[in-house]
């Protein structure tokens, strides 16, 4: 919301400077966004006289002007069609930068003729969009007059943020009221004087609603003014509108725009001669359309409140009027509408049509329901003042209740909620200036909620009224008292798991990334997602159109971006959500990573490129750090579709807990995503971890170590290539559960010498006696058990 300081002073008696005003505004919650002082902004630009304009010798469309700036006479090349001898225009000298020009003016040769500055258009001065010629001022404008003065722009303009709870700040009077309460001056907004009508309003008004839609337009007041002469509005009004960025149109339109800004009161003026029959507020009907003042045609719906006459829909009530009944220079008789509309319905209509208007903005935030008649009186008086004519009596169709809201507040509540000690008198003063008509009774302040404050609905709101005017600078600095409980972990088990898993992945050499929760629909489908319920209805772009079913597609896209930049070695991970559905329990937390590297050359030999076992180690490291006993996990050769079918697996704790997948990603998936492979990946889903059993004690079991020497024995078997190593290790460890403490595979070999479809597996076992040193005989016995067990479970033969 923009307003000028002189405008404010129409409502507020004050000697405060611009700085004092803006400081006070920010202090009490009217957050100032910008202050523009045109006198400073436009200081270098002054009125100049074109002594002579003659054609450019080398360019048909250019003119060479001799310009008298008051200080000197300069040659200026100008392309404007209206540059002519005798013109008074606005001159920007070399070294300055007009507000809407994106460079500093320099002395320049244009087609061989030197140009020393610029004669400016309205657009170049940031005044309007007009750019069909340079500014053409009346001939008697004195040379050297500052531009701001010529345009009447001397007044500083303040722009601030109106929070949605304060519709009254959409009018300059409302701003003045809060500033007055803050002690900056005295409120002096003039009360509108009734205009006496001389005849009954000839234009009938009807509210045609059923019980369900009655709130759409509960009040519609109107007044006829006959014999007006529409034309330009007075200069003071035009200047005010221009200063806040509105283009003056004609007196009737300017009046409604002015009152919208001055009193937050939207109005509409119809050309009464274009109305057919009674004017009617009613719900729209399917199939109806109207041409709005913004030049667009809109289809109305049965949910929208329209203003119509017998012939057609005239406009969307409280949103925008229509072309058909608009006022022009030729308008003679007018009908002024001052109505109330339902904020929610206005908001929905505004959203559905996309119409942005000052009326919609104000009605959807709430317009003072008791300012209907005063607003209409103000508008009538201005029409009579500017356009003449003769006003009718007011016609007012009103089904509103006019019940004033009251609100009590225990006087101690201010201290209880804010901690501030505020004198009772000060509370009463603040509420009084703000229009709450406070009455003190014992420990309670009774207030009457002003009609322009729809946001007040409870006692906390009264506290806020007092506190924000009194000022938060007075808030005490009170430390939060300590909680009287024994310190317990701040993080839940899962939060801690995520934290440790993150650090474990980083220690493994992966870099943590954070990518969007959305992904491209085709990518989601590659990773088992893409359900309708997870599609965004209004995505930023289609590539970010659906919620990701897995972290991997986003990491892969990031990987390829890095590869495209020349970074071939990428190792990324992310700790974040993935979405199986839209319900709260369908969001999973995962730690997923990808690795891609061709291996690099080094003087000690080529480094190993990552393979399925690199990411298996990643997954195990993450799981281990999160507290999973990785020695007792099972690894199965199955994984989701997006993995290479032969080079991927799942790490489980029993069938119920598939905690992690790992392996090489499927080449087809990479191809579909246009990612250069091979890429290794792992996904640890925290939701798939078994719940940890709470231990009663933090004490570890006693450490059992044996003083007797352990023995190692090696074995090599030839077996079918399809036998997995976990089968062998289970057989070996099961052969003697007491003595065999370790089993390690140290060689796996396939080749012609072994035979087709066969492999050789070599492993060592460690025997750890606990009560005496093992004899050769005992060792032989265990070896025999191992050999038998491996033979039995793998069908393999001991190699000779």
């Amino acid at each position: 919301m923009k307003f000028t300081v002189s405008w404010l002073k129409e409502h507020l008696e004050t000697d405060a400077s611009v700085e004092e005003i803006t400081t006070a505004m920010t202090r009490i919650g009217l957050e100032v966004e910008e202050v523009v002082n045109p006198a400073e902004l436009y200081a270098p630009f002054k009125v100049a006289h074109v002594i002579e304009a003659k054609p450019h010798p080398d360019a048909d469309k250019l003119r060479v002007c001799r310009v008298d700036t008051g200080d000197e006479v300069l040659e200026v090349v100008c392309g404007a069609p209206n540059a002519r001898t005798g013109l008074k225009g606005i001159f920007a000298p070399v070294g300055t930068q007009p507000p809407n020009v994106d460079f500093v003016l320099k002395k320049a040769k244009i087609r061989g003729v030197e140009s020393n500055g610029m004669l400016c258009s309205e657009r170049e001065m940031g005044l309007s969009d007009a750019h069909d010629g340079i500014i053409d001022l009346p001939e008697d404008t004195p040379i050297g007059t500052p531009f701001a003065q010529v345009m009447g722009l001397g007044d500083p303009v303040i722009d601030f943020e109106v929070t949605p709870n304060r519709p009254d700040w959409n009018g300059v009077d409302g701003i003045a009221r809060d500033l007055a309460a803050s002690g900056l001056g005295t409120l002096k907004t003039p009360m509108p004087k009734p205009v006496t009508g001389s005849y009954d309003c000839p234009q009938a008004i009807e509210l045609t609603f059923d019980a369900e839609t009655a709130t759409a337009c509960p009040r519609f007041a109107g007044r006829y003014v006959k014999g007006v002469k529409n034309g330009p509005s007075p200069e003071w009004l035009q200047k005010r509108l221009k200063a806040v960025g509105l283009r003056p149109i004609n007196a009737l339109v300017d009046i409604t725009n002015f009152l919208s800004l001055d009193r937050a009161r939207p109005l509409h003026v119809y050309d009464a001669d274009k109305l057919v029959g009674p004017i009617r507020a009613r719900m729209g009907q399917a199939g109806e359309t109207f041409l709005a003042l913004d030049g667009n045609a809109y289809e109305v719906t049965p949910e929208q409140c329209v203003i119509a006459d017998d012939a057609q829909v005239l406009g969307l009530g409280g949103v925008m009027g229509g072309e058909a009944s608009g006022c022009t220079e030729e308008t003679v008789n007018v009908f002024i509408e001052c109505a109330l509309f339902d904020p929610i319905r206005i908001a929905k209509t505004g959203r559905a049509t996309g119409i942005v208007s000052d009326a919609r903005y104000r009605f959807e935030r709430g317009v003072d329901p008791e300012f209907v008649i005063p607003g209409l009186e103000l508008a009538t008086q201005m029409v009579l003042d500017f356009c003449g004519g003769e006003a009718s009596h007011i016609l007012d169709v009103d089904v509103t209740s006019h019940d004033a809201q009251t609100q009590d507040m225990p006087i101690g509540l201010v201290k209880k909620l804010t901690g501030m000690e505020i004198a009772d008198d000060e509370m009463m003063r603040i509420l009084d200036v703000l229009g709450f008509a406070p009455v003190r009774q014992g420990d309670v302040i009774h207030t009457t909620v002003p009609s322009w404050r729809p946001d007040i609905e409870g006692k906390a709101d009264i506290v806020e009224e007092i506190a924000h005017i009194y000022g938060y600078d007075h808030l005490p600095l009170t430390p939060l008292p300590r909680m009287e409980v024994i310190a317990k972990p701040i993080l839940t088990e899962r939060q801690n798991q995520a934290r440790w898993g993150r650090r474990a992945a980083a220690v493994r050499g992966l870099r943590e990334a954070v990518t969007y929760s959305f992904t491209d629909q085709p990518f989601a489908e590659l990773f088992g997602g893409g359900a309708l319920a997870l599609k965004l209805a209004n995505p930023i772009s289609s590539e970010l159109g659906t919620m990701r079913p897995s972290i991997l597609p986003n990491l892969l896209a990031a990987l390829q971006r890095n590869v495209d930049r020349g970074f071939e070695d990428v190792a990324l991970f992310e700790v974040g959500p993935q979405y199986k559905g839209a319900e709260p329990d369908e969001q999973e937390l995962a730690i997923s990573g990808i690795r891609r590297s061709a291996g690099s050359r080094h003087w000690q030999g080529k480094t190993r490129a990552p393979d399925a076992f690199t990411v298996k180690a990643d997954a195990l490291a993450v799981l281990g750090e999160m507290g999973v006993a990785t020695a007792s996990v099972q690894v199965t050769a199955d994984a989701p579709d997006w993995y290479h079918p032969g080079r991927s697996g799942t790490i489980r704790l029993g069938p119920k807990f598939p905690m992690a997948h790992f392996g090489e990603l499927h080449p087809r998936v990479l191809k579909a995503m246009d990612v250069k492979g091979p890429v290794m990946a792992f996904e640890v889903v925290l939701d798939n971890l078994p719940p940890s059993r709470k231990k009663a004690s933090k004490a570890r079991g006693s450490l059992a170590v044996s003083d007797f020497q352990s023995v190692e024995r090696d074995f090599a078997f030839v077996m079918d290539a399809g036998v997995t190593s976990d089968v062998i290790s289970r057989a070996v460890l099961g052969a003697d559960k007491v003595l065999i403490t370790e089993m390690a595979i140290f060689d796996v070999f396939e080749g012609a010498s072994i035979g087709a479809g066969k492999k050789s597996v070599a492993f060592s076992i460690t025997l750890q006696p606990t009560d005496k040193t093992l004899t050769d005989k005992e060792i032989e016995a265990v070896s025999a058990k191992v050999i038998a067990a491996v033979k039995k479970s793998t069908g393999g033969e001991l190699r000779g």
Binding site: L480, E512, N538
Partner: protein, 373 residues
């Protein structure tokens, strides 16, 4: 038998000593040892001859011969050790590496600034008795808006550029979801977790809620996803003075500034009343921004006393319970503290950016070790 003379023994000792001295390597020394102390060695032969000597002579020669044997053995051992040392020195003199050659590269991992900053904030708030609460990213209209005192179609909803999810086809067909139930949204703030927490926990409540938030806005300074951290304190007497005390302590600890310049300004949020924004001072000198001190102000967070309607919506009596809530942008706090100029690269996973702005894997923010090193 009379045995060798003293002179003969002396001569043998001189001879053997010279031979030991002259041994060029271990093998030669071993030859000398065998020749002297081996089974058929010169000294061993003399020792054997002791048995045939007269007792008188034996009594004298015994210790002499024994002394000679020990002396020679010691000399051989000493020479052996010397030879071994010399050989080792000679070998080591050959064994040289160029220690300036690079080590085998090991990939360096890192922690994202967002994670790091959330851990920093958690450490500070944990010390003040807050614990962490979480909630889903996909929210319903009730938790994200209505319960937080955003009435349907209220203009305050327009302050949030909300992402909506497509309504489920089955719900549309049955008419259960379609017109009656508003579509699900991506949470526009972390505040819905306040609601979820208050509906399931009894006061006193002290929680912070870090998490992903979403708004359909994308330009130089906005990304459609960003991070917030929310705070909520509910008991029977916490007031705005505590809010101020808590946040000032937090900001001082986070930015590590003692003389913080700050102010609280009235503002509006539907879910707090009264509401405020906190600004902190900053200054720019020669292009370097310093946060916390200085005369210029920047907005840093929004806060306020939890609105009575919000308490009511969560089943808490606003005449008994009161407290405050606040919310701040994690990404922006990271940018300010660590001088990260742009928001958008946060989510682009550029290895160069992650390397430059990332944190070391074991750099754990703690109050004892320092929130930031």
């Amino acid at each position: 038998m009379s045995g060798p003379t003293i002179e003969e023994l002396e001569a043998l000792k001189v001879q053997l000593t010279a031979e030991i001295d002259g041994a060029a390597d271990g093998a030669a020394l071993e030859g000398v040892r065998v020749a002297a102390l081996g089974k058929k060695g010169s000294v061993s032969g003399l020792m054997k001859s002791l048995g045939g000597m007269d007792p008188e002579v034996r009594k004298e020669m015994g210790p002499r011969l024994n002394g000679l044997k020990n002396e020679i053995a010691a000399l051989i051992e000493a020479k052996g050790a010397a030879l071994e040392n010399a050989e080792l020195d000679a070998r080591l003199a050959e064994e040289r590496v160029d220690v300036t050659l690079p080590v085998t590269p090991e990939a360096q991992g890192s922690i994202h600034p967002v994670s790091q900053v959330i851990e920093e904030m958690t450490a500070i708030f944990a010390d003040m008795g807050f614990s962490i609460a979480e909630g889903p990213d996909i929210e319903d209209d009730f938790h994200n808006f209505t319960a937080l005192n955003f009435p349907p179609a209220h203009p305050a909803r327009d302050m949030h550029d909300t992402f909506f999810l497509t309504q489920d086809g089955a719900a549309q067909a049955s008419g259960v979801g379609a017109g009656n139930e508003p579509p699900k949204v991506l949470r526009t703030h972390t505040s819905p977790v306040q609601i979820r927490h208050m509906m399931t926990h009894k006061p006193p409540i002290r929680i912070i809620v870090p998490g992903r938030t979403f708004r359909c806005d994308s330009d130089q300074t906005h990304t459609p996803m960003f991070h917030q951290i929310e705070g909520l304190v509910i008991d029977t007497e916490t007031h705005m003075g505590h809010l101020k005390g808590c946040l000032v302590e937090f900001i001082k600890a986070y930015f590590e500034v003692d003389d913080l310049n700050y102010r609280f300004r009235p503002h509006y949020f539907p879910f707090t009343e009264p509401s405020a924004e906190m600004d902190i001072g900053y200054s720019v000198e020669e292009g370097n921004i310093s946060i916390g001190t200085g005369e210029k102000f920047m907005e840093i967070l929004g806060c306020g006393m939890v609105h009575p309607n919000v308490l009511k919506n969560c089943g808490l009596d606003p005449d008994t319970y009161q407290g405050f809530a606040f919310g701040l942008g994690v990404d922006r706090m990271a940018m300010l503290k660590y001088g990260i100029p742009d928001l958008r690269p946060f989510f682009e996973a550029d290895m160069r950016w992650l390397k430059h702005y990332g944190f070391r894997p074991l750099d754990l923010p703690t109050l004892v070790g320092g929130i930031a090193r």
